[in-house]
């Protein structure tokens, strides 16, 4: 009994250590004054201060933030429409398969997504005659593609769990469908939209694979900046960058989770008659 309990806590600790020690290692050494990675020489902000003077870092960080915000917003807009159509659209045959298809990009290897998008944009370039093959525009499109299925499934889940009576009551009170969508459906979806946006932001903000196909030399994102810096040599500065990325992403995930939990708990007035009416 006691041995079993000890074994369980040991395995739990082992699992968490496996997950978090490397990250903690980076965070701890980002505050080390030593110029060599992995040596502790007293606490210091010097690597963070150094980053402020690093023009490449600043540009990459700004670009990544902008990209993530735009891509997450685009993914949220499109994903909401998709999730709404699946949850509230006509009961067409094949709605279930459509729902599965929408989620497939979540499981397709990212390298395929990146590669196929590169081919698409290069082809577009020759069709349109505009250089859109690489850079920020294709990155936005690609990152929105990453976030869309996530948003769609969050929205779908929220709508599937929300009484249709609210929307029906609005229709009955004389509101046409677009007004019902804007004044009833969207407000009911707000918590789901917030958490979907945060998740889409995270997916974009730390993406390497897709970005490396589409960024080109002019649109280096923060993860790509880290990646290329490491190829030159690991500096403690990179630890600081990594720490900043971890903090940003973790904040987003935590907020998304909290919003999601709040969404689940959001007190809808209990339907007195649970059955379909």
């Amino acid at each position: 009994m006691a041995a079993g309990a000890r074994w369980r806590s040991f395995s739990l600790a082992g699992g968490f250590a496996f997950l978090y020690v490397p990250i903690l290692w980076i965070i701890v050494y980002s505050f080390s004054a030593a110029t060599v990675v992995g040596v502790w020489k007293g606490f210091s902000w010097r690597w963070y201060a150094g980053l402020l003077d690093n023009e490449d870092f600043r540009l990459a960080a700004e670009r990544s933030l902008l990209l993530a915000v735009v891509a997450a917003t685009l993914a949220t807009a499109l994903g909401t429409l998709a999730g709404y159509a699946l949850a509230r659209g006509p009961r067409v045959v094949g709605r279930r398969p459509l729902a599965v298809l929408l989620g497939v990009p979540l499981f397709v290897p990212e390298i395929l997504v990146g590669f196929s998008l590169l081919l698409l944009f290069v082809a577009l370039e020759s069709v349109l005659g505009v250089p859109v093959g690489k850079g920020l525009v294709p990155l936005v499109a690609a990152h929105a593609t990453l976030g869309l299925p996530v948003v769609a499934s969050v929205v779908y889940a929220r709508l599937a769990g929300t009484d249709r009576h609210y929307e029906e009551a609005a229709l009955d009170l004389g509101a046409r469908p677009p007004r019902v969508f804007l004044t009833v459906t969207l407000p009911l979806l707000r918590p789901a939209l917030a958490s979907g946006w945060m998740l889409a932001f995270t997916l974009s903000f730390d993406d390497v694979v897709t970005s490396s196909f589409l960024a080109g030399p002019s649109a280096t994102t923060l993860p790509l900046f880290v990646y290329s810096s490491i190829r030159i040599g690991v500096t403690p500065e990179i630890n600081a960058v990594g720490t900043l990325i971890v903090v940003t992403v973790a904040a987003c995930v935590v907020i998304a989770m909290l919003r999601g939990r709040l969404a689940a708990q959001a007190r809808l007035p209990p339907a007195r008659d649970a059955g379909p009416q």
């Binding site: 609210y166 229709l171 009955d172 009911l188 959001a266 809808l268 008659d273």
Partner: protein, 365 residues
């Protein structure tokens, strides 16, 4: 007849609906005149809500047609029908406060803020929710939410109002007050009301006509008195009020009535249309038509019963008897008035129960 008054007629012709292959509404006809108050009664799951949803346009019937105000609206969307429905689940918008909930339909209709405000205040006063205009739905009690839902569709003053158990969560005083208000609105505004209720007092006292539904059919539809006094079948008799049944065989049938043998007793029934001699039938007798400890010969029909139990209801007492064949038989007595002809009864006592021939209704076998 003005067009405003005629706008409220509701006609259903052969309306049928099934869900997942399960018939929920059998082909069903119903006509409600403009300004009429119809109460829909029926057991849980018999299709009352489905019927309202078809009238509101939230459900498309598989067959048949719906006309409102003479216009065929069978496939018109809900927002194009002069109909508002109060949902059984209230469906009060959780993200809007009370005033915004009530004003929602006015806003959708494009009313100016000032006009909206006046109407919302009128509706708030009507449902006694003054002062709660800025509350959010989760800060309201069930009964308050119910009144918000009611106010939200009353405020639109539609030609037809569909109310799905609108007062089930209210206490008795408030309910009676609301009932009076609804009847007043119906008279003042000339709105057609179709009200689903499980409260038969509500149905009887408010409605011009009562429709009783059973398993997707309307089994009887008529003025409350007719439905109560001349129930079409056992189901209606039992559903509207309390009733005693006696099984018997018709001995003799004339144009003035019939005699029915019910075990050791013979029951005389007044009225034409009795089944022919020799056929089996069920007799229905309302408990309030039964006299307890009746003097011999005072009533045409007499039964012998043993008092099994009494229940006190404040304004009346319900007494339950056992007949010789073991069946139950109920009578109601005015509380305070001792049973005619003697002191109050004790359980186990054998009593004569009397009722007149016109108190008996013959139902089908």
């Amino acid at each position: 007849m003005t067009s405003a008054a005629a706008a409220g007629t509701v006609e259903l012709r052969g309306v049928a609906k099934s869900f997942d292959g399960q018939p929920i509404l059998r082909p069903l006809d119903l006509t409600v005149a403009a300004g009429e108050f119809l109460a829909l009664l029926g057991g849980s799951g018999c299709g009352k809500t489905t019927l309202l949803r078809i009238i509101a346009g939230l459900e498309v019937p598989d067959a048949g047609g719906v006309r409102i105000g003479g216009r065929d609206v069978t496939s018109a969307p809900p927002y194009e029908r002069p109909v508002n429905m109060m949902f059984q689940s209230y469906a009060v918008f959780p993200h809007l406060d009370v005033a915004a909930n009530i004003g929602y339909g006015l806003r959708a209709a494009g009313l100016k803020p000032a006009e909206r405000l006046a109407l919302v205040e009128w509706a708030l006063a009507l449902v006694r929710l003054e002062g709660l205009a800025r509350r959010r739905p989760e800060q309201l009690s069930g009964g308050q939410r119910q009144r918000v839902a009611l106010a939200r569709c009353l405020v639109k003053k539609p030609a037809v109002l569909l109310l799905d158990e609108p007062m089930a969560a209210l206490d008795r005083n408030l309910r009676e007050e609301m009932q009076r208000e609804l009847v007043r609105i119906q008279r003042d505004v000339g709105t057609t009301f179709i009200l689903v209720t499980h409260d038969q007092d509500e149905a009887m006292s408010m409605a011009d006509r009562v429709a009783v539904m059973e398993a997707g059919r309307i089994v009887q539809c008529g003025p409350p008195r007719e439905v109560y006094e001349r129930p079409a079948n056992r189901f209606v008799a039992r559903f509207v009020g309390r009733v005693n049944f006696l099984e018997g065989v018709v001995r003799e049938s004339t144009s003035a009535g019939c005699r029915v043998a019910c075990g050791p007793f013979e029951v005389r029934v007044a009225g034409a249309g009795a089944p022919s001699a020799g056929s089996a039938c069920t007799l229905a007798i309302r408990p309030e038509r039964v006299a307890v400890a009746a003097p011999p010969g005072a009533f045409l029909n007499e039964l012998e019963g043993v008092l099994a139990a009494t229940a006190y209801f404040g304004d009346f007492v319900r007494a339950e008897f056992r007949l010789a064949d073991g069946s139950r038989f109920e009578a109601t007595l005015a509380a305070g008035a001792p049973a005619a002809g003697g002191p109050s009864l004790a359980p186990g006592e054998s009593v004569r129960l009397g009722f007149d021939a016109d108190a008996v209704v013959v139902l089908g076998p």
